[in-house]
């Protein structure tokens, strides 16, 4: 089910783009990521708007007043919070539901990129049955496209990297390879998570803590994955991060203050 609904169409699309643009796997991954991001744009926009509404609520004087008033009565505070959501037309689930819907797409994209590279026998063995006969017919519609199986093995070179292996750039005079792509992925992940995070301190200490952890650990984790896994996946992370940043900018959520916030002031009781 998962394979036929998600993985096979994704692999087909990836191979199709690869063939169409002249067998450049790096560009194919970037283009494919952009197409998937464009398809999921409405979901992402909804998520961004909802999270914005939730953030703005944290600095709403009325909500701060409610928090102060019921700080010793958690049940009442929860009730008032729900009423506040209703009054302001905020749906707290609207910010996480799109993420849940997008999640299978992201995982599928991730798996298809790994499988399409097919640089070990088991991966290749799994890849070949997914290039089904009907795919040949699809490819035959466009003149100049090769038969899908003849594309194997994919040309794994893109710029200085082999997309099937972790990326390192070697600079004369330096004895070790520098993981440039991993550094860029970590940096763009940092920018992206800072844009998602609340610019101002909220009254909720716990969510502030979580947000702080997210800002630090998420970029490090993404950087680590880009460092240790095939660079094709790092390209996907980078394209995905850059697209999300552009999306934030287009939706009016790009604010440099989020990246370099002043030390937050404690909300006085």
């Amino acid at each position: 089910m998962w394979e036929s609904l998600i993985i096979e169409p994704f692999i087909t699309a990836l191979l199709f783009i690869y063939d169409l643009i002249g067998e450049n796997i790096g560009l194919a991954i970037i283009l494919f990521t952009v197409i998937i991001k464009l398809i999921t744009w409405p979901l992402m926009s909804k998520q961004i708007k909802s999270s914005k509404a939730l953030q703005e609520m944290q600095s709403d004087p009325e909500w701060i007043e409610i928090q102060k008033k019921y700080k010793n009565d958690k049940d009442k505070l929860a009730q008032e919070q729900m009423s506040f959501y209703k009054k302001k037309n905020i749906s707290p689930f609207a910010s996480c539901l799109p993420t849940l819907i997008q999640f299978p797409v992201i995982i599928g994209l991730y798996q298809s990129i790994i499988q399409t590279m097919g640089n070990a026998p088991l991966q290749m063995l799994n890849l070949i049955p997914k290039i089904s006969p009907w795919l040949k017919d699809l490819f035959s519609f466009i003149p100049g496209l090769q038969e899908p199986l003849s594309l194997i093995p994919l040309n794994s070179q893109f710029l200085w990297m082999d997309v099937g292996r972790p990326e390192r750039i070697f600079i004369p005079g330096i004895s070790f390879g520098i993981p440039l792509l991993a550094i860029i992925v970590a940096a763009t992940s940092f920018v992206q998570t800072k844009l998602i995070a609340s610019p101002a301190a909220t009254t909720d200490k716990q969510s502030n803590q979580m947000s702080g952890m997210m800002n630090v650990y998420m970029p490090l984790l993404m950087g680590w994955f880009a460092y240790s896994l095939a660079s094709g996946l790092a390209l996907y992370f980078l394209a995905s991060n850059l697209f999300s940043i552009v999306q934030y900018a287009i939706l009016g959520r790009f604010d440099f203050k989020n990246l370099f916030p002043k030390k937050s002031k404690e909300i006085k009781e």
């Binding site: 798996q111 790994i114 070990a120 026998p121 070949i128 952890m213 997210m214 896994l229």
Partner: protein, 373 residues
């Protein structure tokens, strides 16, 4: 308070790792066990270690390395000669071990990618193909002699005759390179040394990538592609004798063809087996034999017919009249080629109970081997 924060951080990291680990397959096994069989021993590679096992009872003669090295991945069947066992690994090292003791004699680290296929020990020369597009030639002391660059990764075992070494590549070509090439024919390699053979003596275009080992008999090479075409190549005439696709019906071929007196058996990952007339390249049967599951590893020929295993664990013999006999049914997937020696069938099922099993022709287990770690 501080410990609570650390605890939350840990939970968060574990959660993220758990979610993302589900997406990555790079940590899982990336191939299946490879083994080769002599008259007395079996040489088996299966991830971190290589074992020499006594053919009679499956006892461990030696293992290399002696302790499990998790950074090492070796799946290609070890090649053995009179004194050496040569193993190529996924880290790009080709290691030679003493045949009787398993002690390391030398290692070649001049490649830049994985050794997927078995090496070939041909007299005093070791030939090994690599995913970095090269075929390497070393002497029996491990000294690098020369290399030849194809246009794509190489996943098949080289074969040889008196004068040439041959291999099929994923670049769609089958190459022949003269073993006794004169030094004048060498071009300059990247390191400045004159060790690169820039052109093969001859080659033929197979139209698709090859991952199945070629087989040679009486100067004819039988080789099949991932598209499902079986070729017979005459090495004397340096041309394709025939091509068999059964009207495009054959699926992707991963196992070496099984060549017998008059017949070539070829199996595909769609689970079909074809009997092909060796001389004419025509189908022996009106329809293919349904193996009931993917056939990935190559088969082996005995008097009764060709023995194959499918990925659902069925082990069977098929004769030239398309008459099958089931030997046994395992509950485990079998992707490795079938081995045969001293009237015993050897298979490597993907099982928690056995890495390698020896059985008689009626499917009764003689012994099975499972590493202690």
């Amino acid at each position: 308070m501080k410990s609570k924060k650390i605890f939350k951080s840990l939970i968060f990291i574990i959660g993220i790792l758990f979610l993302l680990s589900g997406c990555t397959r790079t940590t899982a096994a990336s191939s299946w066990p490879g083994f080769s069989v002599s008259e007395e021993a079996i040489y088996l590679s299966c991830g971190a270690q290589t074992f020499a096992l006594d053919l009679a009872n499956g006892s461990v003669l030696w293992k290399y390395p002696s302790e499990v090295d998790r950074t090492r991945q070796v799946y290609a069947a070890p090649a053995f000669g009179e004194e050496l066992v040569v193993i190529g690994d996924f880290n790009g090292s080709l290691t030679a071990l003493d045949l009787s003791s398993g002690t390391k004699k030398w290692a070649f680290d001049g490649s830049s990618d994985r050794f997927i296929a078995s090496a070939l020990i041909d007299g005093d020369t070791v030939f090994a193909t690599n995913s970095d597009h090269y075929l390497y030639a070393l002497n029996s002391d491990g000294d690098f002699l020369w290399k030849f660059k194809s246009e794509g990764p190489n996943w098949t075992k080289p074969i040889s005759d008196k004068n040439f070494v041959y291999f099929a590549s994923m670049d769609h070509s089958f190459y022949a390179i003269e073993k006794g090439i004169s030094e004048n024919a060498f071009a300059q390699a990247e390191d400045g040394s004159k060790t690169l053979i820039s052109d093969p003596n001859w080659s033929v275009d197979l139209g698709m990538a090859v991952v199945a080992d070629p087989v040679m008999e009486d100067g004819i090479v039988y080789v099949a592609t991932i598209e499902g075409a079986l070729f017979a190549i005459d090495t004397n005439k340096q041309e394709i004798l025939w091509k068999f696709t059964n009207n495009g019906e054959i699926g992707s071929v991963w196992g070496a063809p099984v060549v017998t007196g008059d017949v070539v058996f070829v199996a595909d990952i769609d689970g079909k087996i074809y009997g092909v007339n060796k001389v004419e390249g025509s189908a022996l049967w009106p329809s293919s034999f349904n193996a009931g599951g993917k056939v990935v590893g190559g088969g082996v020929y005995i008097d009764e017919g060709a023995i194959f295993a499918n990925d659902e664990g069925k082990l069977f013999i098929l004769n030239a009249d398309k008459e099958p006999r089931t030997i046994t049914n395992f509950e485990n997937q079998i992707l490795s080629p079938v081995g045969f020696s001293d009237e015993k069938i050897l298979i490597a099922p993907a099982s928690e109970d056995a890495l390698l099993t020896s059985m008689d022709l009626n499917g009764f287990e003689v012994w099975s081997f499972l590493p202690s770690e």
